[in-house]
């Protein structure tokens, strides 16, 4: 009882004001930082999804823990930040296999051997895409700022380091992503992803280069820490703003092979 009394008696109106003021400042700071983090993430999205549309060739080099390499080649068409068509061109056994990502989690897979497209459900999002270290989720063309809540984890001279967690209602197989963003140009340099159990899962290292008006990805090295396996995705023949028609991102076009 004494202690309680003593505690109550030790709080003066001035100290209450100080505590509230401190909390208010902290909340505002946190809000400002969150706002900053969200802004940084939006700016990163603007760089990653630069241009009205983008076309490129892709070379996927998969390396296992023994150093053995396997190569896949593909072509990618992207429009805006939510339409992407990905079509393998080699090896022969996989040539023609295509993946179409559309808004609202709508995804189709086309396998020439079956002669028809297949709607794929979100259970494949965490699965390896054609044996690579990229999952279907990694290949979706969706802005991070619309799927993740960002907070500043650390600030360095040349980098922002953000912590991303999925927004409520967002389906992701990553519980958290730590992304290192170039402070000058706002492109991602590294993303470390954690699985739903909070374990380190994948690391993606990005290489960006200036192409005309845009900074663009020229290489992503995705390392799956669990599998001890990595895939380098090397981009070439990159073209921006060629006026890709919406017809490219349709099932009609997906099945044209």
């Amino acid at each position: 009882m004494r202690n309680t009394y003593s505690f109550k008696s030790s709080i003066s109106p001035g100290s209450v004001f100080t505590v509230f003021a401190f909390l208010a400042v902290m909340c505002s700071l946190q809000e400002i930082m969150a706002q900053d983090a969200a802004d940084v993430l939006r700016r990163m999205d603007d760089v990653v999804f630069a241009g009205e549309d983008q076309t490129s060739g892709i070379r996927l080099i998969m390396t296992d823990r023994s150093g053995n390499e396997r190569v896949r080649e593909a072509k990618v068409w992207q429009k805006g930040s939510n339409k992407r068509l990905f079509r393998f061109t080699s090896p022969a056994a996989e040539a023609g296999i295509a993946f179409l990502s559309l808004p609202d989690d709508v995804m189709y897979l086309y396998m020439p051997a079956y002669g028809r497209e297949r709607r794929i459900a979100t259970h494949v999002r965490n699965q390896s895409f054609a044996g690579t270290d990229f999952s279907y989720e990694d290949l979706e063309a969706l802005r991070y700022s619309e799927r993740f809540e960002a907070s500043i984890a650390e600030e360095k001279d040349n980098h922002y380091i953000l912590r991303l967690v999925p927004l409520p209602g967002t389906r992701s197989d990553y519980s958290e992503i730590i992304v290192t963003i170039n402070r000058e140009h706002y492109y991602p340099e590294r993303m470390k992803s954690f699985d739903r159990g909070g374990q380190e899962y994948k690391i993606a290292d990005y290489r960006f280069e200036r192409k005309g008006d845009y900074w663009t990805t020229t290489e992503i090295r995705m390392t799956n820490l669990k599998r001890q396996h990595s895939t380098r995705m090397i981009f070439d023949d990159i073209e921006f703003d060629t006026g890709l028609d919406d017809d490219i991102f349709t099932v009609r076009n997906l099945t044209r092979y």
């Binding site: 296992d64 823990r65 396997r70 190569v71 090896p91 022969a92 056994a93 040539a95 609202d104 989690d105 709508v106 079956y114 002669g115 028809r116 297949r118 709607r119 794929i120 459900a121 979100t122 259970h123 494949v124 965490n126 699965q127 390896s128 044996g131 389906r171 197989d173 739903r196 599998r227 396996h229 919406d246 017809d247 991102f249 349709t250 099932v251 009609r252 044209r256």
Partner: protein, 457 residues
């Protein structure tokens, strides 16, 4: 030989200067496959030996696309019965050529939204895996009884009007009738009319004749239309087909007693006359997702155009079993075949697929439809070098009232090596069993080991 001529024609056409002048080159792609199966019992007899070159040839000259898919195969053992046959390489080393597809396609034909495809083609309808009750324009290719989903190409005119990015209307006209091909070799009786004879006639000598519809547009053509759409995050389609049943039904059955020189008593002989009746098929399918699970469903309502009554001719003398003068083979009443399935991939990477099917490909009429469940569990191992299918198979129940006396099962686990690009080597077994007259039980003497290899180029 005919296929080789077609192949030559395709190459000539694709090599025309006007086409070669385009920047898109002539593309050859395909695969070499060998598929070998031997029985697990007795002397391990070979029951399947197929070596196939599956060749696809494509030429694009926008908006035109020309495509051909041809199989060149060595299929089965030597067919040598006399020394004269040894002078015929075709009998020593049976070769088979098959034009699977051969068509020309125009994107944006007359109107930007209209696509036209003419020639031999596969028109794949439905959303389910392998078993598609709404996929009825191409006849079944049942040559390999274990490859249930295989269809032959049909000579067709196919128009697709893309009403929007998510909606299209398809019209298909097939001027000629083409019957289904039936299982080969040791499997030949599995889906035959003979297999449907009463048990008392099981040992009868059997022969039949096929009456194909007149080769005229009015008698032999088929028509199909399909509207596809997207709503509530679900793809769906509605379809209608007016065609002939690709599997024959008996229109007349003659039963006689034959006496052979070494027989004191005669034995029955059955001669059937088989026809391909017309039917209307109203179909619907959908595919989407519930939570993270992929789901699909497909239903086809069949309406026979007329009742099929087989005339049964009795021998002039008494038979030791009752036989009616007429037998209704197929009533003029609707029957519904459908399938519903789901798939899911676990966080550990195992792929699970299950389907429930009502009505197998050869079952017609309400009374004949049986229930089937198919399941599959796949998992890649060793960094995708190995694919294992430890749970792959199906269960059928032909009589719901006594399922434990009328069931059949098949189990087909397989291990595939995928460690080299473009190479797939698989080894597995097919095991069949059950009670009653289920389709898989009819194969119970055929438990087999399978070794296959596919190399793509």
């Amino acid at each position: 030989m005919k296929a080789l001529i077609y192949l030559g024609a395709l190459l000539t056409l694709a090599g025309q200067p006007a086409l070669l002048a385009q920047s898109n080159p002539l593309i050859f792609r395909g695969r070499v496959e060998t598929d070998n199966r031997l029985l697990l019992r007795g002397e391990n007899e070979w029951v399947w030996n197929e070596n196939r070159l599956d060749l696809g040839i494509e030429k694009r000259a926008n908006p035109l696309r020309i495509y051909g898919n041809i199989w060149l195969r060595h299929l089965g053992p030597s067919i040598v019965e006399s020394s004269a046959d040894l002078q015929d390489k075709g009998r020593i080393n049976p070769i088979d050529a098959d034009i699977r597809e051969l068509y020309a396609e125009v994107y944006g034909f007359v109107f930007d939204e209209l696509d036209l495809r003419i020639g031999r083609q596969r028109i794949a309808w439905g959303t389910a895996d392998m078993f598609n009750p709404t996929d009825n324009l191409n006849p079944f290719d049942l040559e390999d009884i274990l490859d249930f989903g295989r269809r032959m190409g049909s000579d067709a005119i196919d128009l697709q009007w893309h009403l929007s990015h998510q909606s299209s209307l398809q019209l298909v006209y097939i001027p000629r009738f083409q019957p289904a091909s039936m299982p080969l070799g040791r499997f030949s009786d599995v889906l035959s009319v003979r297999a449907a004879l009463p048990e008392v006639l099981a040992q009868a000598k059997y022969s039949d004749e096929i009456i194909l519809p007149n080769n005229s547009l009015s008698r032999a053509s088929s028509l199909g239309m399909r509207w596809r759409g997207f709503a509530l995050n679900t793809d769906f389609s509605l379809s209608y087909t007016y065609s002939r049943d690709p599997l024959p039904l008996p229109a007349k059955v003659s039963i006689d007693i034959i006496y052979e020189s070494d027989m004191a008593a005669g034995r029955p002989a059955v001669h059937a006359t088989l026809i391909y009746p017309r039917h209307h098929i109203f179909g619907a399918d959908l595919s989407g997702a519930i939570k993270r699970v992929g789901v699909w469903a497909e239903a086809a309502l069949f309406l026979p155009e007329s009742e099929i009554v087989a005339q049964v001719e009795l021998p002039p003398h008494q038979l030791p079993f009752p036989v009616q003068g007429e037998e209704v083979v197929l009533k003029k009443q609707t029957y519904l075949k459908f399938i519903a399935g789901a798939d899911y991939t676990t966080t550990g990477g195992s792929y699970i697929n299950m389907q429930y099917l009502r009505g197998f490909i050869h079952e017609r009429g309400r009374e004949q439809l049986a229930d089937y469940i198919f399941f599959q569990l796949n998992r890649h191992l060793f960094q995708n070098r190995l694919l294992i299918k430890p749970l792959s198979g199906g269960v059928s129940v032909s009589d719901r009232n006594s399922p434990f006396r009328n069931y059949s099962v098949f189990y087909a686990p397989e291990v595939s090596y995928l460690g080299v690009d473009n190479l797939d080597i698989g080894i597995g077994v097919y095991l069949f069993g059950g009670k009653g007259d289920g389709i898989f039980n009819n194969l119970k003497e055929m438990n087999m080991l399978r070794l296959r290899l596919t190399a793509s180029f």
